[in-house]
């Protein structure tokens, strides 16, 4: 705890004004949070009143013309693409983080670190453009036919190779969340006391054994937090997914098939939604997305903080 800056505080009008305005700004963050909840609840009320909350969540028909709104295809698409992203991105980014902190010489570390930063700084619409022009044709012409040939008996990899669909969206998400997971993991690994690593090495462990027995068990919780942060980003990512998922409000078992996600239907239909029910239903989807990402991001932050905080006090 930090003491008050000025021991004779209370007398100075300037201090009170300064502290008051600072508190106002700080409170502004809480107000923003309140506004998000308020606006989302307010706007989605007409739709929930007409359709019913659970009917809305479980419904799988989305037809704005007939005022029929079900969230299921979007929830499904969001979860499937995020799952693909996690499966692909986690091994790559953890490997990257381990390489950066445990193995690479300083110069390589700086170069790769810079690349990861660049990757994080590219706007998502540019990822979408690249995905549309490079990734989708590649999937359609070679990857999907090959996968279909090898694993076509699994429903996940059956069906015509369309290019646009869950797989394309999931892969672009994997590339986009990679820097998030990698950089938070690096942060977690850096706070680990080096005595643990050195202890393992001194006992004769090879570098990999030191990582497996001393580093990973210690950093596990923080890395889980990193993965959850990445998952949160994957769930909420909008533009790249909108451009690659195919935008069909349907549920398909095949990863090659086109689908839709929560964020992308909001992006696509919000500007053109008229009346109260259609924008209401879209805001309802936003509310679902908000709830899920909020929960994830809160627990991820707690995990990372617990992990790095605990490490710091142990050091």
């Amino acid at each position: 705890m930090r003491r008050r800056n000025d021991p004779s505080a209370g007398g100075h009008a300037g201090d009170q004004v300064f502290a008051g305005s600072l508190t106002l700004f700080g409170g502004g963050v809480l107000v923003v949070f309140g506004l998000i909840v308020l606006v989302c609840v307010q706007l989605s009320r007409p739709a929930f009143a007409k359709i019913g909350f659970f009917h809305f969540l479980a419904g799988s028909d989305w037809n704005p013309v007939e005022d029929s709104f079900g969230a299921l295809p979007f929830i499904y698409g969001t979860l499937v693409t995020a799952a693909i992203a996690i499966v692909v991105a986690v091994p790559v980014s953890i490997g990257l983080a381990l390489f950066l902190t445990e193995m690479a010489p300083a110069r390589v570390r700086r170069v790769v670190g810079f690349f990861v930063e660049l990757l994080a700084g590219i706007p998502s619409v540019v990822y979408g453009l690249w995905g549309l022009m490079v990734l989708v044709p590649l999937l359609r012409s070679s990857v999907q036919p090959a996968l279909g040939k090898a694993f076509g008996f699994v429903p996940l990899f059956s069906g015509p190779p369309l290019g646009l669909g869950y797989l394309a969206a999931g892969l672009i998400l994997a590339i986009m969340i990679l820097p998030t997971i990698a950089s938070v993991s690096v942060e977690v690994l850096r706070t680990m006391p080096s005595s643990l690593r050195e202890g393992a090495l001194a006992l004769g462990a090879t570098r990999w054994e030191a990582i497996r027995m001393a580093v990973l068990p210690y950093a596990r919780r923080g890395m889980l937090g990193a993965v959850m942060l990445g998952l949160g980003r994957a769930l909420g990512e909008t533009m790249a997914v909108t451009m690659l998922i195919g935008n069909q409000p349907e549920i398909h078992a095949s990863l090659f098939a086109p689908g839709y996600s929560l964020a992308s239907v909001i992006a696509n239909e919000y500007a053109e939604a008229t009346g109260a029910i259609h924008p209401g239903a879209l805001t309802g989807l936003a509310l679902v997305l908000f709830g899920v990402t909020l929960l994830l991001s809160a627990s991820a932050r707690l995990l990372v903080r617990l992990s790095t905080g605990q490490l710091r006090s142990a050091a």
Binding site: L35, L119, V125, G236
Partner: protein
């Protein structure tokens, strides 16, 4: 080796103590394989990045010309034209957003650094962290509800409200970090000279961290300039020049999106050009921020 490990059993993970040593050669091979795998992961991660940068530059550079920067988009079916209005629109919307995002973000950050150890401070810090994970499209919905609905029209100001709100949480956190870097002795020296606490905060502490604050602000502006989703249904788009805050306004990102999903080859070409423009803009802001940060690190902090 096992005997040596035992006393450490409480400190070290149990696996170390329990493990029966396997042949050294095998262990070294595993080590080499895993190191190779991690290096492979680095390669896998870097390939898309290089591909993206290479294509944006090589395909985009052909579009860049004076016309491209200064003209309005050509109507469907005609070649030529430019993205002048989108470029100006992005600068306009982001500029407006700064009026909201910068004071609130920096103010909240200073609050966290100066008064952030109480209950309110912890609540604000945690909320800011959580808010930075909220998808930007949801902030767009909020701006729609707050600005577009009451005004009954899409407008630059609605887009600016969305981007401004988006800037606050991350800027608050990075501002706090920057302000906390200021050595405590500086503050104490000022207070010991009898300077009131508020003057100390403003003219000693904040003055010292000014470079860091500019750096944080530039990074958040760069991030805002790259946003698309919250602009789609707030600022919308515009085929023409617009400098009125209450009218729909074009932006680089929305223009890239529209060009990319169109079926026309000429528009794809323009999308790459606009993407190169956007990367240059964002990169320039980040590089400036980086240069400032580099200069700061040579100081005593």
């Amino acid at each position: 080796m096992k005997e040596q490990a035992d006393p450490m059993a409480a400190e070290m993970p149990r696996a170390v103590a329990r493990r029966t040593p396997s042949p050294y050669r095998w262990r070294r091979a595993t080590n080499a394989i895993m190191t190779g795998l991690c290096a492979l992961m680095v390669a896998i991660a870097v390939v898309p990045l290089i591909s993206i940068l290479y294509l944006v530059i090589s395909r985009g550079i052909g579009s860049l010309s004076l016309t491209f920067f200064t003209h309005l988009p050509a109507p469907v079916g005609e070649t030529g034209g430019g993205i002048g209005n989108a470029l100006v629109g992005t600068l306009y919307i982001v500029g407006l957003a700064c009026f909201i995002g910068l004071p609130f973000g920096i103010g909240a950050g200073v609050f966290l650094a100066e008064r952030g150890d109480g209950k309110l401070g912890h609540a604000v810090r945690f909320t800011a962290e959580v808010l930075s994970g909220v998808p930007s499209v949801i902030i767009g919905v909020v701006a729609y509800g707050l600005v577009v609905m009451p005004m009954h029209r899409f407008s630059a100001i609605a887009g600016a409200v969305a981007l401004g709100i988006l800037m606050v949480p991350t800027l608050a956190r990075s501002t706090e970090e920057m302000v906390r870097l200021v050595p405590r002795s500086l503050r104490e020296a000022s207070l010991a000279l009898g300077v009131p606490a508020w003057k100390t905060s403003l003219f000693v502490v904040l003055r010292t961290s000014l470079g860091g604050l500019v750096n944080a602000a530039l990074l958040s502006v760069a991030r805002a300039a790259g946003e698309t989703a919250p602009l789609l249904f707030t600022a919308l788009n515009n085929q023409y020049w617009n400098f009125r805050p209450d009218q729909p306004t074009a932006s680089l990102t929305v223009q890239i999106y529209n060009y990319a999903i169109s079926p026309y080859e000429d528009w794809h070409q323009k999308a790459w050009g606009a993407a190169l423009c956007l990367l240059l803009l964002v990169g320039l802001l980040s590089l400036t921020a980086r240069a400032l940060a580099g200069r700061r690190q040579t100081g005593p902090a």
